[in-house]
């Protein structure tokens, strides 16, 4: 069974429909790329999955558990939303690292705060914190940032900041890791290092949803691709198939703009 099922998501901002009836599934260990022009609703879709926006209609199911159902208020209680968010991780376009914390502290903070809710926190505080720190350091090492653990965000390049942000999202071990245009705020020479890290995650079978404008990257790294336009899924399928042999006219037009460059 698919780890993620998205059914009939609709979202309006005021009177403007941004998402109209979005449905798709994602298998465990697969990487899904969402492509499309600006304003097609890609980012809004990611924000709905992470409960930063509340869909007007639709249902989101992770691992068989209904996390959100627009028709069932019981799934929308404020207190539970916080916990449900942990099924997803989100890497932002603009990194959004906490500037007053070092790279390592950024990675550890949420885990330390969550640990306080554990029943055995008081007795095992030292061990729990040591575990969190060890995991944080290991994650930074995986991101190639072992020597940057004590640096503050402003002392890091954009690419390094984004890799810290990826480590921060991974630290909570989400079921599905979402990327919102992870390289769009980076200088061209820095995108490579971030894409390399995401590629490595894909090879390790991390379940991912990547909103991106990097077509070659989507083709090579993603298993599935969704092309969105005007708030609907125009085409979806196996990545290489959709990007190299699109079936829909709108997909073809969109992709031709990229191959021209």
């Amino acid at each position: 069974m698919a780890i993620l099922q998205v059914e009939g998501i609709q979202k309006q901002f005021g009177k403007t429909p941004v998402l109209r009836d979005i449905s798709f599934e994602l298998e465990q260990g697969q990487a899904l790329a969402i492509i499309g022009s600006s304003g097609s609703g890609k980012t809004t879709l990611l924000r709905c999955l992470n409960f930063l926006e509340r869909p007007d209609q639709g249902r989101i199911t992770v691992g068989g558990q209904v996390l959100f159902d627009a028709g069932d208020p019981a799934t929308q209680r404020e207190g539970e939303v916080r916990k449900k968010r942990l099924h997803f991780g989100l890497v932002f376009q603009s990194f959004n690292l906490f500037p007053q914390y070092t790279a390592l502290e950024n990675v550890m903070l949420a885990g330390q705060l969550l640990a306080r809710e554990r029943e055995d926190f008081k007795q095992n505080k030292k061990r729990i914190y040591a575990d969190i720190e060890a995991r944080g350091l290991a994650l930074l090492e995986r991101m190639g940032l072992a020597d940057r653990a004590g640096h503050y965000p402003h002392q890091l390049s954009g690419g390094q900041q984004q890799r810290v942000a990826i480590a921060r999202a991974l630290a909570l071990q989400p079921d599905i890791l979402c990327f919102d245009e992870p390289t769009s705020a980076l200088d061209p020479e820095l995108t490579g290092e971030v894409l390399k890290v995401i590629r490595a995650l894909a090879e390790q079978k991390t379940t991912m949803i990547i909103v991106t404008h990097e077509m070659a990257f989507a083709r090579d790294v993603a298993d599935q691709v969704i092309f969105m336009d005007g708030g609907v899924i125009v085409e979806q399928g196996e990545a290489r198939q959709v990007i190299e042999h699109p079936q829909e006219e709108r997909t073809r037009q969109f992709l031709s703009r990229y191959s021209e460059n």
Partner: protein, 240 residues
């Protein structure tokens, strides 16, 4: 003579410093309250209008009473001279009640001064606080949210320090202005530093003590400047 003058001025300075300190103690937290009030999104009539309702009904539904009232108060306070507000606070209650609730003694005048100053400065502080709160990018809160942090954790662990860092420079400006604004208290008969200095002129024709008061203000502001510079340096380890 110099020491007599210095001692008298020091007494006046003590009163000035008392007004300064009490104003800060009350206006710093009150300002935060005013800031939160001015940002209040509470709209009790929200349910009245739909998208196709007439314009006046939609305007009524969009009314945010707390925010509106607070903003009018801030406008009045920032829009009139502090000297006038001081007179209103000190004299008007007496005119209305028949007896002066502040009492005629020195302490009553100081209390009235502090009351007027607290209201005035809380309004100025509120605008700075609001800038500090709104200046923290929305992405910071969202990053906290997707990491499963509670609202309180996001405020205390993420946004608060960034906000403090943003407000230190404009706050230091206001606080330095407050030092010199304490001289307005002499308009309702408080013997603060300026009044202490001018008594030598009115009673004995000595002018230099009046100018000598500047030294006290300068030293005080100098100490505050060092303090604020130290605080800014302390917060210099990160950039917002």
């Amino acid at each position: 003579m110099f020491w007599t003058v210095t001692r008298t001025l020091l007494e006046g300075f003590g009163t000035s410093a008392e007004i300064f300190a009490l104003t800060l103690v009350f206006a710093l937290p009150l300002g935060l309250l005013v800031a939160l009030g001015s940002m209040s999104k509470w709209a009790p009539l929200r349910g009245l209008a739909r998208g196709d309702s007439p314009a006046w009904l939609r305007a009524l539904a969009g009314l945010r009473p707390i925010s509106a009232v607070v903003e009018v108060v801030v406008w009045v306070i920032r829009g009139t001279p502090l000297m006038l507000q001081l007179a209103v606070i000190f004299y008007v209650p007496g005119m209305v009640l028949g007896t002066n609730p502040w009492g005629s003694g020195t302490q009553g005048r100081i209390t009235a001064t502090v009351a007027a100053f607290v209201i005035n400065y809380a309004c100025y502080f509120s605008v700075i606080y609001r800038g500090g709160i709104q200046g923290v990018p929305q992405g910071q809160r969202e990053a906290g949210q997707v990491l499963g942090m509670t609202r309180a954790q996001i405020f205390f662990r993420v946004t608060l320090l960034q906000m403090v860092k943003r407000v230190v420079p404009p706050m230091s400006n206001e606080i330095i202005t407050l030092v010199k604004d304490t001289s307005l208290a002499n308009t309702i008969g408080v013997v603060e530093l300026i009044r202490a200095g001018s008594t030598f002129r009115t009673n004995g024709g000595l002018v230099w003590p009046f100018f000598y008061t500047a030294v006290f203000y300068l030293v005080f502001v100098g100490v505050l400047t060092i303090l604020f510079n130290w605080l800014e340096k302390k917060l210099d380890y990160f950039k917002v």
